[in-house]
């Protein structure tokens, strides 16, 4: 095996593409499974029975993340690569201030999109600390760039991704001294399931993005020396 990777939100969309390509490249993949009734990940696991380990994982729950880490430690001795991919969007995203913002959604999205990173990082530390590569890859979004923010709405999602970026910046300062390296990535507009159904109007296929992202995640470069948010075209985004 090339190494062991953990992918959160691997049921569909970009996460599934990561799991599939990593398995094809010879990685062992701990595939975070959130949707119990979605068959794509199960089919993938059947194709790669030695490489894909299904790991029930809800990153919005402390208990679920801890239990997943406990299960993972029974399967593997170390994790080399973590892809923090799982996230949610909101059906109320188009509301502007003054029209009744949905504050419950602000909490729900933050819990998954921002705090999920912290839960997973902490719970899996005993496995990542002894990994060979010590690489943490975070799927963020242009929507988290405060400087480039142009939206009048999307409060919950943008706020959660801006906070995610800040969380990554602070973890980076703490963990780089322990040999961790980081890749912060904006994947572009993809034909995935963020709205609940596959968005065929979008620009990019998730498997195309996964290929570009994995190249960025697994090669050395400037990102080994400083933290930055790059997109699928290699462009750097301001915070």
């Amino acid at each position: 095996m090339k190494g062991t990777a953990l992918v959160t939100g691997a049921d569909r969309g970009l996460g599934l593409a990561f799991a599939s390509q990593l398995a094809s490249q010879g990685w062992r993949v701990l595939a975070g499974q959130y949707l119990l009734e979605w068959s794509e990940l199960l089919d993938l696991a059947r194709c790669h029975p030695k490489q894909i380990v299904l790991l029930p994982l809800d990153i919005s729950s402390d208990a679920s993340v801890r239990e997943a880490a406990r299960r993972a430690s029974k399967e593997v001795k170390a994790i080399d690569l973590v892809i923090h991919n799982a996230a949610v969007s909101s059906p109320f995203k188009d509301q502007e201030i003054g029209s009744g913002l949905n504050y419950k959604e602000m909490i729900r999205l933050y819990n998954v999109n921002a705090i999920g990173l912290l839960r997973v990082t902490e719970a899996f530390r005993s496995l990542t600390d002894v990994g060979g590569l010590k690489r943490q890859c975070i799927i963020s979004s242009e929507a988290g760039s405060i400087e480039r923010s142009h939206r009048k709405a999307w409060f919950s999602y943008c706020m959660s991704k801006a906070a995610l970026n800040m969380g990554v910046a602070r973890l980076y300062e703490e963990l780089r001294h322990e040999g961790y390296t980081y890749r912060l990535f904006h994947p572009g507009w993809m034909k995935t399931y963020m709205s609940g159904v596959r968005n065929d109007a979008a620009e990019l296929e998730p498997h195309e993005v996964a290929t570009m992202a994995l190249h960025y995640f697994l090669t050395s470069g400037e990102a080994d020396r400083r933290l930055m948010m790059s997109d699928w075209q290699g462009q750097v985004w301001p915070w």
Partner: protein, 226 residues
Amino acid sequence: MATPEKKTIVVIGAEHPLGEQMCAFWLAEGWTVFAAAAGTEGMEGVKPVANTSGVGGEALLSRFHESTFNPLEAASIEAMVLDVESVMDHVDMIVHCALRCEAMEPGECIDSHQVMALYTYNAVAPLRITEALLPLMEGGRRRIGFITDSRGGMYEEVDGRHIGYDMSLAALRMGVKNMSNALGPEGFAIRTVMLDMQRGSDLEMNRRAQLVCQRLTEERDEEGEV
């Protein structure tokens, strides 16, 4: 519609030393001030400082109003807005200076509940309060100020002990940016003033409050540091 002559401001977080000093500043400038304490700490400190503004007697009674509310509860925010409405027919300016800062002890695990609590208080509540007060701002001068902590900057190489706090500040800045994008074209001036919150004696606080207040009334529409 002509701008009303009476100038009115709501200070959220008036129980904090900076909030108190800002109340005193606006009172001295002739504004009618609604000092809202955002929490349970009470308003004991506000009145005496308001007195030091040099405004006393009848004027103080008629131009200084106060209340305490819970910014985490919708019903409490609504009640605060009703209180504001009972003493002001419009609001010219809102200033938010209620921030809660908590850090982890060295070696302590990240507490997801604490991270969420900081976000709810520091980022969600200011948006919620602003939205609730917006109808009262229609006929006013349309200014909204956010006082935030300069350590919310992404480029700073600081340790992770304040991770939950720093994340909440990033979320707030993003929320304010989206709000500006929406309300700016409708004539709202939205300012963010960054302060080094860990620094400053009480004496300095007075001077800093003056600088912040000046920044908030400047015509330039951008983030600034004091």
